[in-house]
Symmetry: C2
Subunit: 260 residues, 2 copies
């Protein structure tokens, strides 16, 4: 399943409507090499055999298809088992080569995080109006000078419902959010009543970062994934996407957005 149909609230000026909307699916896919857990990619669950072969090649584990002795893929469970012809020590290889995923998350860390958060209920009384969201997104667009010049960065800003507190640009979508969180730690800014505005797509990883940092409202110019929407609902995070001009989509409200 590469896409998912969900219910959203679409707002355009005074017009508010409940709609079905299509969001992209994001699935954890764990790759085992020679019976050792190697990595979990977050991906669109399609063409997984191609993904494994390409990933192993890109990371230097195989040079051609003959290097793979056997492969088994369970796309429902999100598991791929690869037996290589070489007797490679996967973990040693990770240390030696410092392998990392490419814009992907580790399934284990993912679920660990969810477990650790579940114990604490997340409550925030912050509210924001439709007009404030529209105006603050205009601010984000104006602030992103580097994007206008280079087209190559993401911008994320922290705001109250009334004004911008800080903003950061980076080639990495995740780095911009880490910079916001780091600055808040350094300056001892509480995040439980703030709003995060970002230019980038909202993946589950990004949502988890904001859950851990106690930010109750996330607003993006771009699309969320299905997993991000699910997490937002589970953890009472207000999630708004596709804020463009006077339009926006509410994926999860949690009574924090005031419409007319």
């Amino acid at each position: 399943m590469e896409k998912s149909l969900i219910n959203i609230t679409r707002v355009n000026n005074t017009e508010v409507s409940e709609k079905h909307d299509v969001v992209i699916c994001e699935h954890p896919f764990t790759i085992y090499i020679n019976n050792e857990e190697f990595i979990t990619l977050l991906c669109t669950p399609k063409d997984l055999k191609e993904l494994i072969f390409g990933f192993l090649f890109s990371e230097g584990f195989i040079n051609n298809k003959e290097d793979v002795y056997d492969i088994y893929i369970d796309d429902k469970k999100g598991i791929g088992r690869v037996k290589l012809n070489t007797n490679i020590n996967v973990m040693k290889n990770i240390h030696g080569k410092r392998i990392r995923t490419t814009g992907c998350g580790k399934g284990t860390i993912f679920y660990n995080v969810i477990d650790s958060i579940k114990s604490s209920e997340f409550i925030s009384n912050v509210r924001i109006t439709y007009e404030e969201i529209i105006e603050l997104m205009k601010e984000l667009n104006k602030l992103s000078k580097l994007f206008l010049e280079t087209g190559g960065v993401h911008t994320t800003m922290l705001a109250t419902n009334e004004k911008v507190l800080m903003f950061y640009e980076d080639i990495g979508r995740h780095n911009t959010v880490d910079k916001i969180i780091g600055s808040s730690l350094l300056n001892e800014i509480d995040l439980f009543d703030k709003v995060l505005f970002t230019s980038g797509r909202i993946s589950s990883e990004l949502l988890i970062k904001t859950i851990k940092a106690n930010i109750p409202i996330i607003v993006s110019r771009s699309a969320p994934t299905d997993l991000a929407v699910k997490l937002a609902k589970e953890f009472n995070i207000t999630l708004v996407g596709f804020v463009r001009g006077s339009k926006l989509n509410i994926y999860n409200d949690n009574n924090r957005i005031l419409l007319k």
Copy 2:
């Protein structure tokens, strides 16, 4: 330095001009924790203290700023040294928690790759015309149905100078390229005379993937980073970006693009 001025060739129909253009900088930034090398992020070299604090918080190494005993940042060398108050075993933690970077690359793997490629000169006689690039990019835009529906995916396709051979969509920019490479391995398709078209930005990591896979021409609808441009020049990769409508930017030609 967050941006860099480079020389490009801009083409718009029959108009060809040499221009200065601004590209975003991408720097490796290696973080050491308690004297152990921990990770190298590829990032915009700005606000690095905030990045370290936010990254360590997001990954669960610190809970507040007091958890950091000392921090030293050398932004010229791209090094950050953190001393934590806790006597954490970083590597054990990596194993236990399966930590990974967020859309970032490891400096060590990065330079290893460059070293291993340097020995073999990369020559390809494939040529493509300006019109073929424009037409094939239109194909890419048409093929991306999932993007039109969800706004949440990247699309990458492999083509000759005349026609599309395959295309893949994924929430992960890197996954789309890995799927292309994997499919080519599985179907024993030589890549030395093919062209890669992608919707996503061209970072150094993406360029390294294509260098390793022997793809001579990369065309993107989006922006490249300065590091990707440098690598393209060093390894004789033809790099074209911002292909939109009838316009495109040539960042490195290598005599493979035929203009009128």
